[in-house]
Amino acid sequence: MSETMLEPHAEEPLDTDLPDGELAKRLATTWGTAGGIIGALSTVDHKIIGRRYILTGFLFLILGGLAAVAMRLQLAVPDNSLIGPDLYNQIFTMHGTTMMFLFGVPIGEALAVYLVPLMVGTRNIAFPRLNAFSYYVYLFGGLMIWVAFALNIGPDNGWFSYVPLAGPEFSPGKRADFWAQLVTFTEVAALAVAVEIVVTVLKLRAPGMTLDRIPLFVWAMFVNAFLIIFAMPAVMLGSTMLILDRLLDTHFFNQAEGGDPLLWQHLFWFFGHPEVYIIFLPGTAFVSAIVATFARRPVFGYPAIVLSLIATGFLSFGLWVHHMFTTGLPQLGATFFTASSMMIAIPTGIQIFCWIGTLWDGKPIYRTPLLFVLGFFFIFVAGGLSGVMLASVPIDTQVHDTYFVVAHFHYVLIGGAVFPLIGAIYYWFPKFTGRMLGERLGRCHFWLAFIGFNVAFFPMHISGLRGMPRRVYTYPAEMGWDTLNLISTLGAALFVVSFLVFIYNVAASARGGDIAGDNPWDAATLEWATTSPPPPHNFDRIPFVTSREPLWAERETLPVVTGLAVDKREVVITTTTEARPDLKESSPDPTVWPFVSAIVVTVIFIATIFTPWALAWGAPAAALVMIAWFWPKSVEEDK
């Protein structure tokens, strides 16, 4: 922007002055992303960042999936010597770490980054530069751990890195340090996005979108962001203690000097259990959106679902100890956590029943997204119920840390998060790209995935009950686990094939799929009120919301508000509960500094693995780039 424009309000064109076509063009220029590498690295468009987030998330899903394939090959037959224990331990740790930290959490946030601003009817996410920064930190963190793995420095203590095994004495070298820093990377990224989502939902909603008109998708992502805000600091604190124990001889987990290995477990699971819900709540967001659209009616029991989301959020912080039932805790305390762990079945049940009610009263249209949601019901309910067994202390002493638990949490996480996620990709792909995904291939994908998943994971319940502990790199032939494991491996192969179909479908449809149009499913939420893919500014005019299902309530014309600047980035700020228009805040322009900051932060994080002094010399560097990032570039920005 030019420095000469000192006169306030001099000739600032507003959208009221322009005809529709001209308006769209001017807005697209104002909100657009410049070309070239610098332009690409400077973008603050939530859709571009969101798309990168989604693609990167799927890249890590593929990498984590390949690790799973390697494990299934090793376990297919007893006494297998395909993979030795050292590599196997790294592989299963990479699998868990990747799926939880680099896929599970980020992919939910990725879809939120793309869709929440569209659904609440605004032009960009709150703090878009922070958003860009968080993406690069996430990307660099993920690359760091996979490069480390390729260099034989892959972490090898399991995704929850129990001390003392992950401590300085029993994990020499740098493997566990890379793991601890990976946690720091991904937590920084996740927390930043969580803050953006919270503020976007609270302040950037379109005028008229009162609290009770917020789509269930957005509610779920909103509650999810709070879960992240309250859960992630625990693991950041824990991983910091771990790396200090390893590098600076602190004694947090050294029982000989007053520490306690169980402190790690408490901190980790205080994060680790909400983590499961952090992965699952985006799943409920997808299900609510898909069920409403394909049952052709609003989701039944909106207030009940919102309240149960919030209840889930609260309860999820009260049950971390059920991961520690076998550590020899006092019995009475354990009972409290049995009760709270079982109690969380109630809010989850409410949501399931409301969705089933919606389908009962609606008129279901069986397209691929709905198929995946039906698969979700089948698998997730089974996983949730086996979770009730784990909540019982006595039963847990038999099944804890066995393949029964492996089966349980794959039923919960793949059923509760991945199936809805795939459904969501089929559902929103037209919005992302302007083209439909192939329906025949979609059905093929669904059935392969559904059958493959159950064949792979159901037998694990039985092998766990028959005594197979998790995290074993092999097992003797005479244990009688071989057939079950072979079946699991074959199922896993089928599951992999289903993803190949998916990848082919995406690749083919992105180029040659049917043209989607603005609202191919006749859905009700605001993201379908704009073009597919949406223009850089999302909406030519900011919608005015009159109903919980705006596009079903306003069939003829869309009510909008006007009076926003065309030549500079402005978003409407509304009041927190009533969503009355309050301010026209400027939204930051593209800049390359978040990218540079992310690089500096990455260098600092990796360097601290080798010397704690990296913090001392890194902090001023980080401060400098942050100043460059935040310092206003023109007086315009100060207004």
Binding site: L151, N152, P168, E169, P172, D245, D249, A256
Partner: protein
């Protein structure tokens, strides 16, 4: 430029591999490997410390070997005489003086053959590569191994900072046997 990057990457790959390898099944250490050092710097204070051979370096730069050495140092009760490196009835291992030479193979020799005034011979009692591991660990107590391979603290009482936090120091051959360690005349 591109070549430089490639070389840097290759070095990074190789060094990382060595540092983090867990070599459970050692390559055969033949008796011929013992020969070259047997007679070299046995006498105190003669000449500069010799450079450790290729193989020695592999032990000293490998975190797994060093931590194994640390474990065996306790298991085989080296602590009984040398305490945690500070010395007791045996000489201190943390100071920078080496009575019988401070190179890895000198230390190996000391462990394998024993020394006068109380250091027993472990020839045949400790397998060759475990001697190498212990010797490499002994040198890490004076931080003559890379910092990022040196062991961290144990889950135990901590009488002193762990090996990887010690300042790096060069080996100085020489020194005296403490009076407590001298055999009765």
């Amino acid at each position: 430029m591109r070549r430089l990057v490639a070389i840097a990457a290759a070095i990074a790959v190789l060094s990382a591999c060595e540092r983090e390898d867990r070599e459970f099944r050692p390559p055969p250490v033949g008796t011929e490997a013992e020969a070259p050092v047997t007679l070299s710097s046995i006498a105190p204070g003669t000449g500069p410390a010799e450079r450790p051979g290729e193989m020695g370096q592999a032990y000293e730069e490998n975190a797994y070997h060093l931590s194994e050495g640390k474990r065996l140092f306790t298991w085989f009760n080296c602590k009984g005489c040398h305490a945690n490196g500070g010395g007791g009835s045996g000489p201190a291992l943390m100071d920078d003086s080496w009575i019988y030479g401070g190179a890895l193979l000198n230390v190996v020799q000391t462990i394998r053959e024993g020394r006068p005034n109380g250091m027993p011979s472990f020839r045949g009692k400790i397998p060759e590569e475990q001697i190498m591991q212990i010797a490499a660990y002994v040198r890490s107590m004076e931080r003559q191994v890379p910092q990022d391979a040196a062991p961290g603290r144990n889950d135990d009482l901590m009488p002193r900072p762990s090996e990887h936090r010690l300042p790096a120091r060069p080996a100085v051959p020489g020194g005296t046997v403490p009076p407590s360690g001298q055999a009765p005349q």
